[in-house]
């Protein structure tokens, strides 16, 4: 019988190799259909009417002029919640024959407001009205009072940014024979319908979800959202399919914000550089809801004396959503910046300082090894210098910075179905989704590996809620979930087939294995039967098997695990006459257990580095403090890095037997955590002053240089 354990290195054909995405050609040729590309017969376009005020009471909504516009077929308006809490809050929607008519009709909806004073500012801790949170360990005051220690204190900040998915939120919805068909962009195919049914008045078992390709989610696409309900209601009202996708401005304002984090941090260390205490006051906003301060200290959680006070500021901004490794990038940036500043205050080399304190983390050995590899890859020995010393003679100063991070990555609950047909073809079905990370390819790899077949022998179908249920893609859980459920399903299906072959070949199933397109006898490999021939033994009945991954059990079976470490280093140049920061190189060293596809794993890290460089150098949701309007709700001033902005990127995945024996661990989030800290530390190292707030734009860099007396 085939076993579910992951095969050892010498027995793998596909697993852990560099394999191109099976849907790559579909994407590069534009054949892949995203929600935006779905066009149904007689489809209408819907546009939203939203509040231009950050705080207001809606007193009336008059849709008569919009309804009278030729081409308008359906109108929805908000009847319940008239309390506007942020600009962009949805008030009404119109559906029309063309996008242009819908847009014009949306402008014709007349809304009357009682405008109230709004609050959007989040940079001052005193704006917090909520009860502060407190987390304490050890004796912080005593540690700072110790005359043998040195202390550093600094203020740091990381603003609200948006998810800015290149494919905006939204869906195409159709009602046919009292059943609802929806093509959403979602990270949560299996559970998309959970409460949607009640909201649109169609039973959950009559809702059909189909999401084949996604242009990014990053934690912002778990729910069907208000526009999901509106799409359903407009489809019912008009009897026509409805396309409702957010425009870019709404995408940036209301479809996902990462909470800000500003902090005053005090650090104490012994004179030889061992950390003894860290005291942090952190504040920020997650919009109108509550605020959970990021973990500070981050990773260095064993510093003996720590205190963290968290203060939430409620603002009239779009609500927060989980952003790739929620709270990690903020906690990492705040902590690693303060630590690097402490090293600089001690006139100590940053790498030496990190290595000296690595025992205060949960994974000293992991980080030590990864720090050394990263240092080697970036040429640390040749390039490193103390802060502000040795960055170069001209106006362009060069420097290095580093950061370390951690993350979970335990697989989610998942079920998968594998069918072996009598003609030898194999079908894998799962109610999971491919966010663009290569989930389809990973499923193909696991199933083909298990059955001893080439990749193209297996068809993978996902993205429908009628397929076996699999978890939402959040918290780096997908690869752990789907690799185990598909492995188990394929193994069970194979064992059924081996039983058939064993009966025919006068041996036992235990003495058979599937390799290279053959079913072979283990003790006599020359006794073999081609895959197709073996499947023909099935007669008219295919083998259909389900596999199920329950996280705790799969972890006990060593198929999956949680908890990873990563180290990143940045090599930057700072033009001290212009404040422009340029990335020369970034190095990422990352572990994530057993890697299913080395190529897409590396791609995850490349993508995360680019996303990280973007929030380090460019991204910031800019709000007008008076009107509460987001001023850069476009891709002109909400800047994203282009290919020329990211420098040379080096990715090193840890793939030793030690790492692989842990099983599969998620990778989606961890590599996006460190870039902010690594780049900001490199900038400080280069130009000799700390630029305390991200993004590292010329205004902030020049201000810091002036303050530090370093302007050219």
């Amino acid at each position: 019988m085939a076993k579910v354990d992951w095969p050892s290195k010498d027995k793998r054909t596909h697993l852990g190799k560099r394999i191109s995405r099976i849907d790559g050609p579909l994407k590069t040729t534009g054949t892949a259909k995203y929600s935006y590309d779905i066009n149904r017969p007689k489809m209408l376009w819907a546009k939203l009417v939203t509040s231009p005020y950050a705080k207001a009471e809606v007193s009336s909504i008059d849709t008569s002029a919009a309804e009278a516009l030729p081409g308008v077929k359906a109108v929805w308006k908000e009847e319940q919640n008239k309390n506007m809490q942020y600009v962009g809050q949805i008030i009404a929607a119109v559906a029309a024959e063309t996008e242009e008519i819908a847009t014009e009709a949306a402008h014709l909806v007349k809304v009357q407001y009682n405008i109230q004073d709004a609050a959007v500012s989040d940079t001052d801790a005193s704006l917090s009205k909520d009860k502060p949170t407190l987390k304490e360990g050890g004796k912080v005051d005593e540690a700072f009072a110790d005359s043998n220690s040195i202390t550093h204190s600094g203020t740091y900040g990381i603003p609200v940014i948006s998810h800015c998915c290149l494919e905006p939120h939204g869906q195409v919805t159709e009602v046919k024979d009292d059943e609802l068909y929806v093509w959403p962009s979602t990270q949560n195919v299996s559970r998309y319908t959970d409460r949607l049914g009640d909201s649109v008045g169609i039973p959950q078992n009559k809702i059909h979800v189909d999401c084949q390709h996604m242009g990014g989610g990053f934690g912002s696409k778990f729910e069907y959202d208000k526009w999901g309900v509106i799409g359903g209601l407009l489809a019912k009202q008009s009897g026509r399919p409805i396309k409702l996708m957010l425009d870019r401005d709404l995408e940036l304002m209301i479809a996902g914000n990462r909470p800000s984090a500003y902090a005053k941090i005090k650090v104490a260390a012994t004179k030889d550089g061992t950390l003894t205490a860290l005291d942090a006051e952190v504040w920020g906003t997650g919009g109108n809801g509550g605020y959970n301060p990021p973990p500070v200290p981050y990773v260095f959680t064993k510093i003996p004396n720590t205190k963290l006070v968290g203060k939430g500021i409620r603002t009239n901004r779009g609500g927060q959503r989980a952003w790739r490794a929620p709270n990690h990038p903020q906690g990492c940036f705040l902590t690693m910046s303060a630590l690097e500043d402490t090293a600089a205050a001690l006139k100590m080399d940053a790498l030496e300082f990190f290595l000296k304190n690595v025992h205060l983390t949960d994974r000293p050995d992991v980080y030590t090894e990864e720090l050394n590899i990263a240092a080697e890859l970036i040429g640390y020995k040749q390039k490193a210098h103390l802060r502000g010393q040795g960055g170069g003679d001209g106006p362009v100063k060069r420097g290095l910075g580093m950061s370390i991070h951690t993350c979970g990555g335990m697989g989610h609950p998942s079920e998968c179905e594998v069918t072996i047909n009598p003609d030898g073809s194999v079908l894998t079905r799962i109610g999971s989704q491919d966010l663009g990370v290569g989930t389809r390819t990973s499923l193909d790899i696991v199933v083909a590996e298990t059955l001893g077949l080439p990749l193209k022998a297996v068809t993978v179908e996902l993205g429908k809620n009628s397929y076996p249920q699999s978890g939402a893609s959040g918290g780096s859980t997908t690869i752990g979930g789907i690799s185990v459920s598909s492995r188990k399903a394929a193994t069970a299906a194979l064992n059924d087939l081996l039983e058939k072959v064993a009966a025919r070949a006068n041996t036992t199933a235990d003495n058979l294995e599937a390799r290279d397109g053959w079913i072979r006898q283990i003790d006599k490999p020359d006794n073999k039967m081609a895959w197709k021939e073996a499947c023909a033994l099935l007669g008219p009945t295919p083998i259909v098997q389900r596999g199920k991954s329950v996280p705790g059990e799969s972890q006990k079976e060593k198929l999956i695990d949680a908890g990873v470490g990563g180290v990143q280093m940045a090599d930057v140049s700072v033009d001290i006459e212009t404040g422009i920061v340029t990335i020369n190189e970034m190095v990422a060293v990352q572990d994530c257990g057993l890697i299913v596809n080395l190529k897409t794993a590396e791609s995850q890290v490349f993508g995360a580095l680019i996303m990280g460089i973007t929030y380090s150098l460019f991204e910031e949701a800019v709000y007008d403090h008076k009107t509460g309007r987001m001023l850069n709700a476009d891709m002109e001033f909400y800047r994203l890095a282009g290919i020329h902005d990211v420098g040379n990127l080096k990715v090193h995945m840890m793939t030793t037997d030690r790492h692989e024996s842990r099983g599969v661990i998620g990778l989606g989030e961890p590599p996006v955590i460190s870039p902010g800290a690594a780049i900001a530390n490199a900038v400080a190292n280069a130009c000799g002053v700390r630029v305390p707030q991200l993004p590292l734009t010329p205004d902030r860099v020049i201000a810091a240089l002036y303050e530090g007396g370093k302007v050219a």
């Binding site: 231009p52 242009e100 847009t103 014009e104 402008h107 006459e577 212009t578 404040g579 422009i580 150098l617 460019f618 800019v622 709000y623 007008d624 403090h625 008076k626 009107t627 309007r629 001023l631 850069n632 476009d634 002109e636 001033f637 800047r639 890095a641 282009g642 290919i643 020329h644 902005d645 734009t697 010329p698 205004d699 020049i702 201000a703 302007v711």
Partner: protein, 325 residues
Amino acid sequence: MKSFEYAAPKNIKEATALLSDNWGESEILAGGTDLVTCLKQQIATPKRVVSLRNISDLRGIKADSKAVRIGAMTTLEDFASNKDVQKHFPSLATAAKNIASPQILSRGSVGGDLCQRPRCWYYRNGFGLLGKNGDTSQIKEGDNRYHAIFGTDSSALFVNPSSLGPALIALGATLKAEGPNGKKREIPAAEFFSVPKSDKDREYALKANEILTEISVPISGLKNATYEIRHRQGLDWPYVTASVAYGEKNGNISDARVVLGHVAATPWLAASAGKALNNSALNEDAAAKCAEAAVEGAKPLSRNGYKVQLAKTAVKRALLAARAA
């Protein structure tokens, strides 16, 4: 987008006849890289859009010994890759290439670059050209990190977005316009840009029924260069640009002109900077002195003091680039 009437006349005369006498009632469509966005966001809601696409007289570049003449509808790509432009006016070629977007370079026109509307985020968010909410300036009290540092006593606090304007002024170019009934006039580049006093004014000296037809740049042997400070390597608006042009006699500078971009409601001619440079040799010290003079009189707003430093750097580096050219 509000529905509008669309016309694509075959010659300039027909085109001017289709234009309204009043701003806002009709709009001229050249490459469309700005106007189409304005239409979509209802920043512009004209009754009629007059496209210049069918008027072949407006395209092309001609050069003789005295001047290079550029049709207003010439694409930025054709302009930037023209040999005469590159040979005589590296300042202009650099400014055009710095737009850094293949799409905008191949669609956008030279005339459109000069007539595009400001990118001020208050203007683009519907607060009007001057960014006012009632009598108060949203810009002065709001987020003005990208706004003007010169001329900030006026109520026009946006910055002129033109890439070519500063270099054209430094090079002493002349712009040609044609109004109804074939009425032609010439406008020196230095007088083309204006500071609007109300939302109804434009940022340039054309009348609503006039079309910019040609840009003529004299070949005067001035050394020239443009230096741009922008954040992204790809398409991005610069924080500050500086275009310089100067003559040289026996190693001494004469006739120096320094024009800054993205620092005021018009390209900003830094007259004293030119004077500071004249009659001296161009070296690092002279360039630094000129840069200091260029920012004399700057009055930054609450959040854009850093642009003074950037303006100095841009001037210094533009001068050194011109010297090296």
